[in-house]
């Protein structure tokens, strides 16, 4: 369960008579089968995050449609889709545990079940010792693990990750990627992961969708044929390096176009 089908999705921002109106995403079609980890990569402003919002039902597309297991998405689907954002999406006035419990309350989980589900999710990301800490007491990497715990506790079949590790230093980011790969190999979730990091995309993804400069369209989809969980040996392999280079060639001209037209996210 959790197959996502994106058909001809276009997204625009601004009124139709506004000179500043932009088309972020144009006629995008993408099939993400159940249990697959798909990375979206592309220049800033190509509509990757907009696509996540549309899949999650947080935004309506200007044209096209998204279905999950054949059902059209018409609004937020907290029981089926959960989100991991960039930093600061945790509630700073709540502890790690309270953040997870709040998420379960939002999703409508009965009070009696919340504690057990929070415990399980916090243990899965290895934050047992920090459950009573506030986000400001945690490192950047721990904060993202706490966010992941919050999303995992919701037990959705689909996980959307919007540049979750973008604010972290590269070493932390790569190690969290390894942890994520191990964790997700066990859960068989469908995952859509937006990133700007070529290495991260190749390391994590079953397939990588490469977007063009704005208006974003899918330029190509790259297959990464490697079993999960992925480990350090894959990180340092010639195979990963080769795919990374291929990805760089695909993205190079698109990123330059974005730089030269001054488009921003």
């Amino acid at each position: 369960m959790g197959g996502i089908s994106v058909r001809g999705v276009t997204q625009t921002f601004g009124a139709s008579d506004d000179a500043r109106r932009v088309t972020a995403l144009e006629d995008t079609t993408l099939e993400i089968p159940s249990g697959e980890l798909m990375c979206l990569i592309g220049p800033s402003g190509c509509g990757k995050s907009s696509l996540l919002d549309i899949i999650a039902g947080l935004a309506k597309p200007a044209a096209g449609s998204v279905t999950i297991d054949g059902e059209p998405v018409r609004g937020p689907l907290p029981k089926r889709v959960s989100f991991v954002f960039q930093e600061n999406a945790l509630f700073p006035w709540l502890t790690v545990e309270e953040n997870v419990l709040a998420a379960l309350a939002f999703q409508g989980v009965p009070k009696a079940e919340r504690r057990a589900r929070a415990d399980e999710a916090i243990a899965a990301v290895g934050l047992d010792a920090f459950r009573a800490h506030h986000p400001r007491q945690l490192s950047g990497g721990m904060k993202q693990r706490a966010q992941l715990a919050r999303a995992l506790s919701l037990q959705t079949e689909i996980l959307l990750m919007d540049e979750p590790f973008a604010a972290l230093d590269e070493q932390t980011r790569l190690l969290l990627g390894e942890d994520l790969s191990v964790l997700l190999a066990r859960t068989h979730k469908t995952i859509v992961f937006v990133t700007h990091s070529l290495v991260e995309a190749v390391f994590l993804a079953d397939r990588v969708a490469v977007f063009t400069a704005r208006p974003g369209r899918i330029k190509t989809v790259l297959n990464v044929d490697e079993p999960h969980p992925r480990t350090r040996s894959f990180m340092t392999s010639a195979k990963l390096a080769g795919l990374r280079n291929e990805l760089y060639d695909l993205l190079h001209d698109e990123v330059r176009k974005t730089m030269e037209t001054g488009a921003v996210a």
């Binding site: 919002d53 937020p76 907290p78 959960s82 989100f83 600061n88 006035w93 709040a102 939002f106 999703q107």
Partner: protein, 242 residues
């Protein structure tokens, strides 16, 4: 260092006025003020007037807080309303509210209601502006996160909007309380029939500077106490919210 300055200032005051360098009708010796203050506190004459002033402040603050919080929250819910009303209210805030006092006297008479109206007007602006600022600038990412997890409108309010806005709103309430107190006192000194401000003016007009300064001391102590209490509350809220 600050303490030394204050001590030096009061020492100069005492020496100056007791030796006749300073006109005791304008600057009475500290010792005379102390005597007047003791008489005031002991004689029970202080309490009815202090009561009137604090009563006026309490009503004025309650009105300003009720109106300011409600209006601020409603305005904060629409980006358009914020763009329209935020500069408008900030502009009105800059107009000296005291200019309204003559008309308040006309509408409400010289008793407490005119002082309440002035205090409420003065306290309203910092409260409404802080409420708008607090609720309109909640981190969009956290709202998006809560919505994606299925938060209902009441859950959004209690879990996200309120904790996020609370420290800013509280700072506005504190400012409102202090300004309200200043307005009530100011109003009383202009035209009134009771209250600390009224007594300050009456003492001055009856050429009794020690008594006037004694009332001023009481007013200053009250202002400092209000400020201290509300600062403490704000500090508590900030540390528990951060």
């Amino acid at each position: 260092m600050q303490v030394a300055c204050i001590v030096a200032f009061f020492a100069a005051w005492q020496v100056g006025s007791s030796t006749g360098y300073l006109d005791p009708l304008i600057v009475p010796p500290l010792s005379a003020i102390a005597v007047a203050l003791t008489a005031l506190l002991g004689g029970g004459a202080l309490w009815p007037d202090a009561g009137v002033t604090l009563f006026e402040l309490a009503i004025a603050f309650a009105l300003a807080a009720g109106a300011g919080l409600t209006a601020g929250f409603i305005i904060s819910r629409s980006a358009l309303a914020v763009r329209v009303f935020d500069p408008l209210l900030a502009g009105l805030y800059a107009i000296p509210t005291i200019l309204l006092f003559p008309s308040y006297l006309l509408f409400f008479g010289i008793g407490p209601p005119s002082k309440i109206a002035l205090g409420a007007t003065m306290a309203f602006f910092p409260i409404v502006l802080a409420t708008i600022a607090g609720f309109a600038h909640v981190a969009p990412l956290r709202l998006r996160a809560a919505r994606s997890m299925g938060a209902s409108a009441p859950q959004l309010f209690w879990y996200v909007l309120l904790p996020e806005a609370f420290p800013v709103v509280l700072a506005g309430l504190r400012m409102g309380l202090i300004l309200g107190f200043l307005a009530v006192l100011g109003g009383e000194t202009l035209t009134s029939n009771a209250g600390l401000g009224h007594q300050i003016v009456t003492a001055a007009e009856s050429l009794d500077p020690p008594k006037m300064f004694a009332y001023i001391v009481v007013a200053v102590v009250l202002a400092v106490a209000l400020n201290g209490l509300t600062s403490y509350a704000e500090q508590r809220a900030r540390t528990s919210a951060a």
